[in-house]
Symmetry: D2
Subunit: 367 residues, 4 copies
């Protein structure tokens, strides 16, 4: 069945393999009149580009985006927007060996189990390179949200055992850190930790946190299309994510109701606010007007340069040593992917909400 389409009204359709001719996405359902250009989208893509920091794979790809449709005279036309990145590295010679066995922690085995065979070159469709399409589409969603004064900011909350200290953290620091950590001291420590892992031919995981500000209250659709349920799906659909939290997340399990409830209060402008935000901006599956806070747990890169036990397709248990060079960590390059998936989800749910009230519907269609 189709699985490369995301969203219900603001829908994206992605395609492309690691070592095929290219990677791309079609965004369908974008409103007409949004200013979009290749330059704008490129800025988002550059944040996940390989070779952008010492901890990322040195694969040489310019990842240049081409917009092929749906934009006319600098604005979206309302019709489907196709965006394409050509793969510059298509050599598949390096990958002939991995055709015959299953790398631990990768999708090699499960793809074969499902499809009978696979494009084994560089992970094929299950490569992290697939996220290019998500980020290009996410760029459009991010630009759309800006117009509604909604911001989405993701960053590395922890790398292995090194976590940020919120007292030292600032959104302004995120882009200054090669690891996209908002606490530059933690970032330095994490760099040291990463170098150690690289030296040991090992890799590490981490946690990405994302904050959404400016979201109006009431967005999300009871009972299955809750905002947090859709965010969870969006985030868990990113390769290597093994956990998802909203607000206090797993900490709520040991909390008491008296600790976990957020009291409401009117602020000086007569706006309803919450005095704490344990809920992470969502109550009953709908946004509550506070910042939405979510986290994703990212597993360590499965490609490591140690001998590993596995099986081959000839029925043998074997030992392997994976060649090539790979990122010792997925987290930093996934930060913009998390932002993208959150933005795509928010746009879709903002659209879904537009038909929730008769009075607003009448105003919309009043003539």
């Amino acid at each position: 069945m189709s699985g490369s389409i995301f969203g219900k009204q603001f829908q994206i359709s992605t395609w492309g393999e690691s070592h095929g001719k290219g990677i791309g996405v079609t965004v369908d359902g974008c409103p007409a009149g949004l200013a979009i250009s290749e330059e704008i989208v490129q800025q988002y893509l550059n944040r996940r580009k390989p070779g952008s920091n010492p901890y990322a794979t040195p694969r040489k790809e310019s990842d240049t985006i081409h917009i092929l449709s749906g934009v006319f005279e600098g604005k979206t036309t309302g019709t489907s927007i196709c965006m394409l990145v050509n793969n510059e590295t298509q050599r598949s010679s390096d990958y002939s060996e991995i055709a015959s066995y299953y790398r631990p922690g990768h999708a090699d085995y499960t793809f074969d189990a499902k499809y009978g065979f696979r494009d084994y070159r560089g992970g094929g469709r299950s490569s992290g390179r697939e996220t290019l399409g998500r980020v290009a589409a996410g760029a459009i969603a991010m630009e759309l949200l800006k117009q509604l004064n909604i911001t989405v900011t993701a960053y590395s909350k922890s790398i292995g055992p090194i976590a940020i200290n919120y007292d030292n953290a600032s959104f302004d620091h995120i882009l200054q850190s090669p690891l996209y950590m908002p606490d530059l001291e933690a970032s330095s420590k994490a760099e040291a930790y990463l170098k150690e892992q690289m030296h040991n031919f090992d890799s590490t995981g981490g946690v990405i946190e994302c904050i959404v500000s400016g979201m109006p209250a009431g967005i999300g659709e009871p009972v299955f299309e809750k905002l947090d349920a859709n965010l969870a799906k969006a985030i868990m659909s990113i390769g290597a994510v093994k956990g998802f939290e909203i607000g206090d997340g797993f900490d709520v399990a040991t909390k008491k109701g008296s600790e976990n409830n957020d009291a409401f209060a009117y602020d000086e402008n007569g706006t309803i606010t919450k005095q704490t935000n344990h809920s992470g901006g969502i109550l009953g599956g709908l946004s509550d007007g506070s910042d939405i806070i979510l986290r994703a747990a990212i597993k360590p890169t499965p490609s490591i340069f140690q001998t590993q036990h596995t099986v081959n397709k000839s029925g043998e248990n074997i030992d392997i040593n994976i060649k090539g060079r790979h990122d010792p960590i997925i987290v930093p390059r996934a930060v913009v992917v998390v932002e993208s998936m959150v933005a795509l989800t928010l746009v879709d749910m903002l659209f879904a909400n537009m038909s929730s009230r008769m009075d607003k519907l009448k105003t919309f269609y009043e003539r």
Copy 2:
């Protein structure tokens, strides 16, 4: 927009408010020929019935299921199956007060923000009573999975600070524990802890864990309809869930690749197996043939019998004391809901997988 429909091929559509005329669900897309009766479905519903243990609300409801369509001579016909539970308690007098203010931790405010007003009686559509429809539909999914030798078992892993010890745990104990804990010693401790919370007019949270056995490898659809992504949405759509994990979950963030990768090996039957299961049965978004392991973090019941600060609709900051009696914990009654949502997701993805290979498609339609 519609939000009460779940699934893509095996679709359920639920409806009903806490104090309306009834609660129900329509299951659409169930294969013909599955043995289903009201007795079978009732057994699942009884596990979430109010008043079933001392820690559950004593509201008197028989929760008797009526199958109105789609079953003929004891078997499903392939057409939509409507199931209905009449609400026996429809008095709304107790709830007149909560019409005017917003209870902390509940969806009162967000529903008003979205819809302009709400059915305030007992939480209306955001009541936990909504899950009746999920469990009735889940019963059908569970019966279907049994036919494929797939089992889904959920239980309380922890209640507040009391967690099970796996050395003492057994699936056989789950139904013996009023809290659905597989470790009866932990269950006793948790009961004591709960009584303490009740005495303090407080509530507590917990963690539900769910194990799926017998799932074939290769189920899930790259890249957005991953099995874990859909499980995450299913689980996060349950009210009060604030976190979701697959396999090692948030623990992977501090792990190294050499620790987290699961080595493959052929077993004595020549079947590919994994020597560990950090992945929780899912690789690249597809089932890998191992047990699927997932967890949900459940927040403490927001209705507590302490004075709380909030706002009313007249623009005032007020103090409230919620009347009535409520569960001090959501976890035990949510166990069967988690099982149901997992089963619904698995069935939908098993159907989705059927068109993944030309050879199997040809065999299916061979004449």
Copy 3:
């Protein structure tokens, strides 16, 4: 796969068999604040009730609607609305015979081919009684459209060879005709024709026409979700419909471009209008502001009281005489079903259109 759900944002889910416990529908995605009551919905249902005229089956059913959820204090709440009609006639004894053979023109054979067996009582799920759910849901859509000053009016355009004369026709006459013909003279002739068919133990077909007024221009989504494409699906999903036309329909095939193009002109208010309406109110799949005109061809009732050749399940060619009494024509009772399916489609596409422009999106979410 599920097939009993219609719509994308305003979604309905129907269920029920001819001789099961009941028939019903859940409407999901209706905006909050629409005035709805059982009385309002009942008026629509009464137009398709059996026994309402001499040419309709005399089966005794009150078809009383019960609203079970989603309406509070006389208004929709925004959550799913379940509506139920109990079947009063559930005797299945009359139908034991038809379990063993396949009636020509009915779905008996195709249901068995698909599902392996069927609920054979009165056609089961393929009975015309299934349309009750469509009409109950359609009632809500019709009431919603009224709030937007959009009207949907269907009528019998022809019964067998007897067609209306537009010069004699008026919407005011429709409900005065037992056949829902807007030309009362044609209606009388059609009544005589029908009596002749009944005398001959035969049945006849006809054409239903539907006019939508007040639809704003620009509704519909290029390129697959065109308004006319969705209307076609909606109408063709009604049992017994074998053809669909928009505007001049099949007549365009022999027309020249110079005849078929509709010239645009500004009217006295500066509004863009068309000087003719060959397009039937739709250009490029989007509404063009003119009346939408569509037609459905309805086949003659397949149940006739003549000997017919068919097969039984034991492998024999046999002759059958179907018992009971049946309508000699489907058309009049299908008129309100056509109206319903058109209304459901229009509402869904009006919702879909709300996110088509950035400027309107910004206005909607402006704070």
Copy 4:
């Protein structure tokens, strides 16, 4: 809202404007293991290529297809297949004039009404060139159906007043006729008729008929996802189609039940067959094992070289003469588009049917 995605499990997503950078489609949900190449797809595309006959626009486009993903070593991999045709003619100078006014019979006005502005070059997204994506995707669906021994054949049934005579018709003649008519005598007459229209600066319409052979019985999903309902949507989504029929279509309206019912009979192999096929291969929305027969009414090309009345965007009623050269008829080039849309629909519904029976589901997943 998104409207460029078609299908539910076998989903296609198209994009591209007449004079943008290119046109394309992504096919998502194609089973792994189907032999596909650019050569195969190109053959289908060549049938709708401009300049292929004297009655088609002489626009010079090679319409060369590029497959960018989803095919590895000559076979589909199960992941999304992106196909791209670069536009060679992108000059927009010819079209500056039509930016300011609305051509009768075109979507210019309705696009502006919906989106506020439009890509006016050559019709933009509403250009017939959009169908390239449909045909490329349809090629894959056609190849898949071949593997299941299902054939789809469309042809011109009539051009203006000239209709084929079935006694003279043969599928073998279709590709010999520049108008894709299976009756070469009618084809010659139609050519003469078309030349006359061109001489008169006019255009004409016609009817396309399509026959599906080899479809198993029972395909389609009651009650809204009927096979004929989905075919209707598929066909009506093609620009310029104004009517749709299954089997006897609008003729049923004047038929009697005794004439219209198809008697069942066992053939010599013990297979259930129908002795006539008024139903057009579909009963109760499910395929009945006979040939599926459908028709589409195509309007005359709206672009004609006569003075026409219309409005401009400055509020004036004006007379226009459209420049350039255009097809005097749409029908022949739409034949392969009809085939494509039928094939796409059949594949989707064949997939949907796979989960209709428990016994088949168990066999599928038996281990």
